[in-house]
């Protein structure tokens, strides 16, 4: 099966990663009470770049990219896609302001932190609206609670592990007890997220098999595809197993193992989420007039 809508896959993944990273950053601050502005500044720059990059890539999906500014006109009809574009832009502006504030001080100010919380909420709303865009009755496999939830889960499983990898990559000392505690907490977040994703996949397949002909065919094609099998192995099983090992390693304060596992888990999560989104866009059967091919 050919991967469809590649610009949309990359756009949604980048925005969800950006929002997940930002929210994880806020949680990191709340748990560690670290007020070093440099960490927050650097991570928020990554978030801004991801959001800008995602919006840029989304232009390649359009037949008329230079007319993309018209995407706001649909607000008068309450178009979910117009709302998605608007909330994503607002998220971008807010993260830009947040990162700009961090250039002005060496410590994270309380006001800046609360502004960050507001920004995180906007990011969350942007993801849910993004999922809402695809709640189309004409595509039964999309018209379930799984759609916005899966968009949210991308943020949840990828955000915390990114923070860990970023801290490691930027040379943060990892002999600090707080950081090892964060590794352990990240593992718990990751494992919880992966378990929820697994349950989500199970229930989604169950819903599809119980629904009409388009849904049944979609479910059948997904289950039989190589893409799905690879997604389960690399995106769910591998990070699940490695996440458990990372949790144990963190508890035993085995720094080297924890570090190596974090990098591998991050890459496997990214691949898994990419495949998940590719399956979402490529396998969905749409209602149409006439006899459904394959039934």
């Amino acid at each position: 099966m050919k991967i469809k809508e590649l610009p949309l896959i990359i756009f949604t993944l980048m925005i969800e990663l950006a929002a997940g990273i930002f929210i994880s950053l806020l949680i990191y601050q709340a748990l560690t009470l670290n007020r070093d502005a440099e960490i927050y500044r650097n991570v928020s720059i990554v978030v801004v770049l991801l959001t800008v990059g995602g919006l840029f890539v989304s232009l390649f999906h359009l037949g008329k990219p230079f007319s993309a500014y018209r995407a706001f006109y649909g607000l008068k009809n309450n178009s979910p896609l117009s709302w998605e574009v608007l909330t994503t832009f607002i998220f971008l502006i807010f993260t830009f302001i947040y990162s700009s504030e961090l250039f002005r001080s060496i410590q994270l100010e309380s006001n800046t932190y609360y502004f960050g919380v507001l920004t995180g909420i906007i990011g969350l709303v942007a993801i849910l609206i993004s999922g809402r865009v695809y709640m189309l009755k004409s595509r039964p496999s999309w018209f379930t609670f799984v759609t916005p939830l899966s968009f949210l889960m991308t943020s949840i499983v990828s955000g915390p592990i990114f923070i860990v990898v970023f801290l490691l990559y930027s040379g943060r000392k990892f002999d600090d007890l707080n950081l090892l505690g964060f590794f352990g907490l990240t593992s718990i977040f990751l494992l919880a997220g992966l378990i929820i994703e697994s349950l989500m996949i199970y229930y989604h397949m169950k819903i599809l098999n119980a629904d009409g002909k388009e849904a049944k065919l979609t479910g059948k094609e997904i289950m039989e595809s190589g893409m799905f099998k690879i997604r389960i192995v690399i995106g769910i099983l591998l990070p699940l197993i490695l996440g458990i090992i990372m949790l144990l390693a963190a508890q035993m304060k085995s720094i080297g193992t924890t570090v190596n596992l974090a990098y591998i888990i991050f890459i496997s999560i990214l691949i898994g989420e990419f495949l998940s989104r590719a399956i979402f866009y490529s396998f969905s059967r749409q209602m149409d007039v006439g006899v459904l091919e394959g039934m």
Binding site: G63, A71, G74, N78, Q286, M287, G290, V291
Partner: protein, 196 residues
Amino acid sequence: MGKKLGFVINLDRCLGCQSCEVACKQENTVKVGIRWRRVANILEEVNGKPFEYFLSIACNHCENPVCLENCPSAAYEKTPEGVVIHNKDRCIGCRLCTMACPYGSPQYNKEEGRVEKCDFCIDRIKAGLKPACVQTCPVEVLTVEDMETFSSQDTVNAVEGFPDPSITNPSVRFKLPRMPETEVGNWDKPLLDKGE
């Protein structure tokens, strides 16, 4: 003119000749690969035997058009006649309408980077003429009716092969084809006439 124009399709008469498709293409200069009106083969099983008929379908100019509701660039609007028209100049080619429509009506023109669809030949309607497909059909399968006042007793709003009408409330009605009721080989026994 009425407020909710729609097509009434007499499935009993349709021969599947596709004259309506050709007329539409000619009238609207529709490119190859895109069909504003298309004729679908529907295969059912009646009394254990296969039964085929043809369904000519274009845009259904729905009461709740999901294309209009979802379009981010407000390229769709509904005329006083109840016709859903697409403004090509406003279209940004995001194709969300093509994903949202359960009937496959909006179609993406790759060359132009925009979507296009049946507009009920609204210019012809305003000039007092019938849409090209209606005018051309040799056996009068298609008629234009105002759904607000149309008496629909012998018609239905959905048939086999047509998506659930409750999704968008399409302005279309179908006159069902007569179903075969003879036993195999019993040629003396006439068809039960359920026609006009």
